[in-house]
């Protein structure tokens, strides 16, 4: 005889009351039902037991039923107690029970628990899940270790389940929907607790790990007794009808282009995107603490733009793009995010005065036009006036310094700047009477002499300050005294002073690029993958030249093997976590930045970067496009599409290498790139970590016209090996059908046969030669570098032994070398090979990318003659960190505990204490500086400083030159 009410008669009451019908039952510790009625302040009253605190304001909703707390899996938390109160915990027996919906599985998940699982120290209990299996973990006095009992059944995401875990002092059981799904007798005796642990709902949290539940919880109960299977079944049966079947999965809407979030000012931004066909897409904006706003005019079009206003500073905003529904299915994009704390423009000055033909405002506009620069740092010399300073600030983004030798003038200047609201934050008056100004070498974008007379500092001193690659010196004088200027200029480099523009009366000098400086235009320096910028200046002793934003907050986690920053023509390009930055390499001024939620790549160890730079353009991959971005302004000037003449439409742009008048690209299957959104480190030998992203097409385009210059189709081209040098393109390609037809376009480590080394003519795409070679030992990764008329292929096997093969690759411009077969007469003849067990032995030592400087090939802890393979040394600097080496001609840079440098001439090995870099390549020598954008984000370590930083060689400074 069944004494329980039927589900149908019970259901309405049960939903209203939850399991409170049982609230007074024996052994009940706590019962938490998540309904809006129970919320208070920043937490919720329990049906029984202690209340809970909410963090990061999770939503508690009633409609549509069931009532629930929604946990997006970010930082929303439910804390019963941050300390462990054993009076709130079960002792020898327990039941933890919940109605829960998991929207995203994870390696570890928690529903309710209090535990510590730290190495050998395992204490407490947890009802949760392991991947897609619900689980119960308990540590008892019997074993003093945690047993994670996982249900034999799997669960589906987005579906409600009744989950329970019981322990009676000798047996653990886990129940799913009232059915026993697993048991274990591994534990026995009272539950063993740690001295401290957070008691939480909706998370797996201990001292050093915190996995948040992405999903929803209706209610949770905790008892000091083990409920019988029949009781649990009855509980499930009584209420199962209250929990709806999952709604039809929304159809995924991926915008054709964008979205991009461009700042207008501190409180507003414009979101732009394109749909593939004309349609009325909307933007759903989640305003924290307010609710969701639907924005859009409902007009059918392909190009969409929404201006977001009244944005609060320092907040994370989330939004979705919504297309018209398809029947019952919603059509929505992924949930994007932007953060208003990533606003770096200078503080606003009062609005510019009307465009008067004369006066300080007009003068300021003319000066800025003549100088051609308007961002960074500017010095105003020559009896500077507040009136002109204020107008320069109004019309530019300069941080302006008025250098005044006469102390008596300073109070009035400061008073005027104060009155204009720009004192300090935009313009400062510095008292300086010495002929040597205190400012850093090469740090100033504009030096302006206001009164037309030669300043009190020398021409050499002015030249010392001006930033290369476009820094300006300007004399604002309609009729400068030529004789005085001639004397002042002397034989300094400024003697090349010219009038700014034809007909202009202002004298101007634009500083050219530093002779001997190099660029870091590709992931590994150049397209040759040498990891060397060929910069001749970065060596010897270095001083800090600048530091500042971006800091760690906008950056991706340090461990994802992220794309390297680039630096070309005095600009530094940094890819944050879906935030792009352009900086001035010489002073760190942020030139532009914006949110690009669809631009992200990780695990470049098994792929290639998505960025390359040439001239004044940054090229970056965005879906099936490659964008050409103005390096100074951030304007998206060029959009190139990946070729699809073969009607392969579901393709993305893969590799990108930019030259002066061409780009080489590759094509990958859609969404084949790694994203690194789960904190991956990509260090272990596992298919989902080491599989190499491959391309089905290699091509060249004219970036000016978009014209496809040539296409190459062969096998599955390993992106991590695409290399260029001396007008040749090299790569490994797999012709194994399993690789070519891999659904995710990733070369699985189980399919490493049938790989060919191929060389193409870069100008025509014509195959020059190919080499069939056994590269199957390169199991962890495959790298290829070019130099000295040879290509070197290297990688490690699963035992972490390096295998390196060097082949001849004569320049297409040079006479063909001889060989012992037809192929090698052209190229592809094995010159040397080498194998050794990795020397570094930790922190991804087996993943080290090589460096080539001149004819020396540096790999792991060794160096070789690149042409002969002769072992030159085995004592490269100790590197404890997870990064890889980068180089200038005279120095190698690396992460040890901190930023590290090996000066090749002096053999000095040093660290710059306090600062570390990330787990791939982020110390780049370019433009004469060592540039180190912040890449240590998320490091739990106590490195004292997390900042982007530039170092200047002392040899480039007055201090260095005076020695």
């Amino acid at each position: 005889m069944n004494l329980l009410p039927s589900p149908s008669s019970f259901s309405t009451l049960a939903l209203a009351l939850g399991l409170s019908l049982h609230a007074q039952e024996t052994g009940l510790i706590g019962h938490w039902e998540f309904t809006p009625e129970r919320t208070q302040n920043s937490g919720m009253r329990a049906v029984s037991g202690p209340g809970v605190s909410f963090f990061a304001a999770p939503s508690v909703l009633r409609d549509p039923p069931p009532a629930r707390i929604e946990l997006p899996g970010r930082d929303e938390r439910i804390v019963i107690s941050s300390t462990l109160d054993k009076s709130q915990q079960p002792n020898r027996e327990m039941t933890a029970e919940a109605w829960v919906r998991v929207d995203r599985t994870s390696k570890w998940g928690g529903i309710i628990g209090a535990l510590q699982d730290n190495g050998d120290f395992e204490r407490g209990w947890l009802l949760g899940f392991v991947d897609n299996h619900f689980s119960l973990a308990i540590a008892s006095e019997g074993t003093q270790r945690l047993t994670y009992l996982a249900a034999t059944s799997t669960f589906e995401t987005n579906r409600w389940y009744h989950v329970a875990g019981t322990y009676d002092g000798s047996e653990m059981r886990v129940f799913v929907n009232g059915t026993l799904a697993g048991s274990s007798r591994e534990q026995s005796g009272p539950i063993l607790y740690p001295p401290s642990a957070p008691f939480v709902i909706g998370a797996y949290q201990d001292e050093d790990e915190h996995y948040r539940l992405s999903g929803a919880i209706h209610e949770v109960r905790l008892l000091r007794r083990a409920l019988a299977p029949a009781e649990l079944l009855a509980r499930y049966q009584a209420r199962k009808d209250l929990f709806p079947e999952p709604a039809p999965e929304p159809r995924f809407f991926k915008p054709e282009y964008g979205p991009f979030v461009d700042w207008q000012d501190r409180n507003s931004a414009v979101v732009t995107w394109e749909s593939a066909v004309p349609q009325p897409t909307l933007l759903e904006l989640e305003r924290p603490g307010i609710g969701t706003q639907r924005l859009g005019d409902g007009q059918s079009r392909t190009r969409h733009s929404i201006t977001l206003t009244e944005l609060e500073p320092d907040l994370e905003y989330h939004y979705r793009l919504v297309a018209p529904p398809e029947g019952p299915r919603k059509v929505v994009s992924r949930r994007y995010q932007f953060d208003t704390s990533f606003y770096y423009r200078p503080a606003p000055a009062p609005a510019p005065s009307p465009a008067a033909p004369t006066g300080p405002a007009a003068r300021a506009r003319e000066i800025l036009a003549a100088a051609g620069v308007s961002k960074g740092y500017a010095l105003l010399l020559g009896s500077p006036s507040a009136a002109l300073a204020i107008e320069i600030v109004r019309h530019s983004e300069f941080d302006l310094i008025l250098v005044e030798p006469d102390a008596s003038r300073i109070p009035a200047l400061r008073r005027d700047l104060d009155a204009a609201g720009i004192q300090g934050i935009r313009a400062a008056v510095h008292h300086a009477a010495s002929p040597e100004l205190p400012y850093g070498d090469l740090s100033i974008n504009l030096v302006l002499v206001e009164d037309g007379r030669p300043p009190f500092i020398s021409a050499a001193e002015v030249h010392r300050l001006i930033r290369p690659s476009g820094g300006a010196f300007l004399v604002d004088a309609a009729q400068p005294d030529s004789a005085a200027w001639t004397r002042w200029l002397g034989d300094s480099p400024l003697a090349a002073l010219t009038t700014g523009k034809p007909g202009a009366t202002r004298l101007a000098f634009l500083r050219p690029r530093l002779a001997g400086s190099g660029d870091w235009s590709h992931q590994y320096g150049g397209a040759d993958n040498s990891a060397c910028s060929q910069d001749e200046l970065v060596k010897g002793e270095l001083d800090v030249a600048w530091w500042g934003d971006p800091g760690p907050r906008p950056m991706p986690d340090r461990g994802n093997r992220n794309p390297a920053p680039l630096s070309v023509n005095g600009r530094l390009f940094v890819q944050g976590d879906r935030v792009l930055f352009g900086l001035d390499s010489y002073n760190g001024a942020i030139l532009w930045n914006y949110s690009v939620p669809e631009i992200r790549r990780a695990n470049v160890t098994r792929d290639c970067s998505n960025m390359s730079a040439a001239g004044d353009l940054l090229f970056i991959v965005h879906g099936r496009f490659c964008l050409g971005i103005d390096g100074q302004t951030g304007e998206r000037r060029i959009r190139l599409a990946v070729p699809t003449s073969d009607n392969q439409l579901e393709r993305d742009w893969g590799y990108i290498a930019a030259g002066s008048d061409f780009i080489v690209g590759s094509r990958v299957k859609r969404d084949s790139a790694y994203l690194g959104d789960d904190g991956e480190w990509y260090e272990e030998y596992a298919s989902d970590q080491v599989s190499r992203v491959t391309s089905d097409l290699l091509f060249a385009q004219d970036p000016a016209t978009g014209k496809v210059l040539w296409e190459y189709r062969g096998g599955a081209i390993l992106n991590s090996t695409i290399t260029q040098g001396d007008d040749m393109v090299f790569f490994l390609e797999s012709r194994n059908p399993a690789a070519i037809n891999a659904p995710n376009a990733r070369l699985d480590p189980a399919v490493l046969t049938e790989q060919f080394l191929v060389a193409l003519d870069r100008k025509t795409g014509r195959k020059l030669w190919e080499k069939d070679h056994d590269f199957s030992s390169l199991e962890f990764m495959s790298y290829l570098v070019y130099g000295n008329n040879s290509v070197v292929v290297t990688g490690t096997d699963r035992r972490k032994h390096f295998h390196t093969f060097a082949f001849n690759a004569p320049s297409s411009k040079a006479p063909k070398s001889g060989g012992d077969d037809i192929a090698s007469a052209i190229g592809g003849r094995l010159l040397w090979s080498e194998t050794h067990k990795e020397d570094k032995g930790h922190h991804s030592g087996h993943l080290q990318h090589p460096v080539v400087i001149g004819d020396t090939f540096y790999s792991d802890q060794r160096s070789f003659n690149m042409v002969t393979g002769e072992l030159l040394s085995k004592d490269l600097p100790e590197r404890r960190g997870c990064g890889v080496m980068s180089a200038a001609k005279g120095a190698i840079f690396f992460r040890h505990h901190f930023h590290g440098m090996w000066d090749l001439e002096s053999d000095k090995r040093q660290q710059f204490l306090g600062i570390r870099s990330g787990c791939w390549l982020s110390l780049i020598p370019a433009g004469g500086f060592l540039l180190a954008p912040e890449t240590s984000a998320g490091c739990s370590c106590t490195h004292a400083i997390q900042t982007s930083i530039g170092y200047i060689p002392r040899s480039l400074t007055a201090r260095g030159q005076s020695k």
Partner: protein, 474 residues
């Protein structure tokens, strides 16, 4: 003037004594956050001062998450300059600005601007006022001494041998900015300049009368950022995200770097240094003479009186029986040490049959130790005197018998004896700084606002209690 902790004056009671100044950040060089002045039962806003631009903190904050360890919402470890923190002395309020490079002096009663002094860089830390002079440092690399009454410069000293200015945190500042506060004690002034060990980080002692140098120590491994702490014999130097260094105050020589999870929040009690918040909001306590931690607390700030400790987390304010808690913490640490030693012995024995009896003996001792550890832990839990929910997480001070906590758009006062809420008051922005002096509160927010609350005004009184704390039954 009372640069040293007023706790020494409390003599085991929270009762009030004579009105006192708040001459430096958090009232004294222990950074105790305690004023013996009681607050009147009702306070109202007497005046407020608003900066044109909000504070410009040097550091934006931590990363969004630690992907490897799956730790989200990591605590910013460098929050020393998120508001214009004030010093209050002689009826005047002194503060520096990271936005317009000035130090200002206001009349504490009226809020009227008395004087302003310009430096050539952001002033990120509150001045220290002593003997009629205000001392402060600037990102321009200089230490300044001005007359407190007039703002007239008494002396100015560059803290490093060279004047080299480079772009730093978005401004043209010294390569050796003064990023720690000023300590003046027994006629000497202590401060630091420099952030980057590769450039040298200078710890200097100057004659407070004229700025002449007494000694200089250069650190090559740690930066210096945050508010210096001092005892009679020690200087404690916060090191940004890293752990503080302890130096001999006579010579500046490094004694040790303490262990912990890093951060610039620090508090010195009679016998220990408490600091954090690490990556998760955790304070570590290190006893004098040691480097390792005695105990750690889940929280961001702490107020210590001889009898009680008040622990301030994002969500709770907890009162602890201090003496008992410390005794138990010491016992637990000792037990933990013994446990580790026994475990090491046990591991060394291996699984050989010949060692079975010895292993059994060790296991038995370990089991006994485990029980004593649990008892100590449980005893520590029972040291909670009361616990009160708190959504005012940014700072905490104790004025008389009133705890005042700074939240977002609001400050709240709680009775220190039982945690009951006394009143709340709206402020503009996040209240990162509170100073208490002469029965008044001076609240500094991240919007560049300084609110003064005091009695005797005509404005409406503040709100009354709405919720109560939880008394802990034992």
């Amino acid at each position: 003037m009372k640069p040293f902790s007023s706790l020494l004056c409390l003599l085991g009671t929270l009762a009030s004594i004579q009105a006192t100044d708040w001459p430096t950040y958090r009232g004294d060089y222990s950074r105790s956050g305690v004023s013996t002045d009681p607050l009147p039962p009702r306070l109202a806003e007497a005046w407020s001062w608003q900066s044109i631009h909000p504070p410009q903190p040097a550091w934006q904050g931590e990363a969004k998450w630690d992907g490897w360890n799956k730790v989200f919402n990591m605590k910013p470890r460098q929050t020393f300059d998120r508001a214009f923190h004030v010093a209050v002395a002689g009826g005047k309020v002194f503060f520096g600005s990271s936005a317009d490079d000035q130090v200002r002096c206001l009349d504490a009663r009226s809020g009227k601007l008395l004087w302003t002094f310009h430096t050539e860089g952001p002033v990120r830390l509150a001045p220290t006022v002593q003997n009629g002079r205000a001392y402060f440092g600037s990102d321009d690399g200089c230490v300044y001494c001005v007359e407190a009454d007039s703002g007239k410069l008494a002396w100015k000293v560059r803290a490093t041998p060279r004047d080299r200015r480079i772009p730093g945190n978005g401004r043209m500042i010294s390569a050796w900015p003064v990023r720690t506060s000023i300590v003046v004690q027994d006629g000497l002034l202590y401060t630091t300049a420099g952030m980057f060990p590769v450039e040298g980080v200078h710890l200097v002692a100057l004659d407070a009368r004229d700025g002449s140098e007494k000694w200089r120590q250069i650190q090559n491994d740690l930066p210096a950022q945050g508010y210096l702490l001092a005892s009679r014999s020690r200087l404690y130097i916060p090191a940004g995200r890293d752990n503080p260094a302890v130096c001999d105050i006579e010579s500046g020589k490094r004694i040790r770097v303490v262990e912990g999870a890093g951060g610039t929040y620090a508090l010195l009690t009679d016998d220990m240094l408490v600091f954090g918040p690490g990556k998760t909001g955790q304070l570590g306590a290190v006893e004098e003479g040691r480097s390792d931690q005695l105990a750690s607390f889940q929280g961001n700030h702490m107020i210590v009186t001889p009898e009680r400790s008040f622990l301030h987390s994002d969500t709770e304010l907890t009162a602890l029986d201090r003496a008992r808690y410390l005794a138990l913490a010491r016992e637990r640490k000792q037990l933990g040490t013994e446990q580790a030693a026994l475990n090491k012995k046990l591991k060394a024995l291996g699984n050989k049959a010949a060692t079975e009896s010895e292993r059994d003996s060790l296991k038995s001792q370990l089991a006994d130790l485990g029980k004593r550890l649990d008892a100590a832990t449980q005893g520590m839990d029972q040291c909670q005197l009361w616990r009160s929910p708190s959504s005012w997480q940014h700072c905490l001070v104790l004025a008389g018998t009133t705890l005042v906590a700074g939240g977002t758009d609001e400050v709240a006062a709680l009775n220190a004896t039982d945690g009951s809420l006394a009143w709340r008051h709206p402020v503009r922005g996040r209240a990162y700084g509170i100073a208490a002096s002469d029965g008044a509160l001076f609240i500094s927010t991240d919007q560049g606002t300084i609110h003064c609350l005091r009695t005797g005004t005509t404005q409406a009184s503040l709100s009354t209690p709405t919720t109560a704390s939880t008394e802990i039954s034992r």
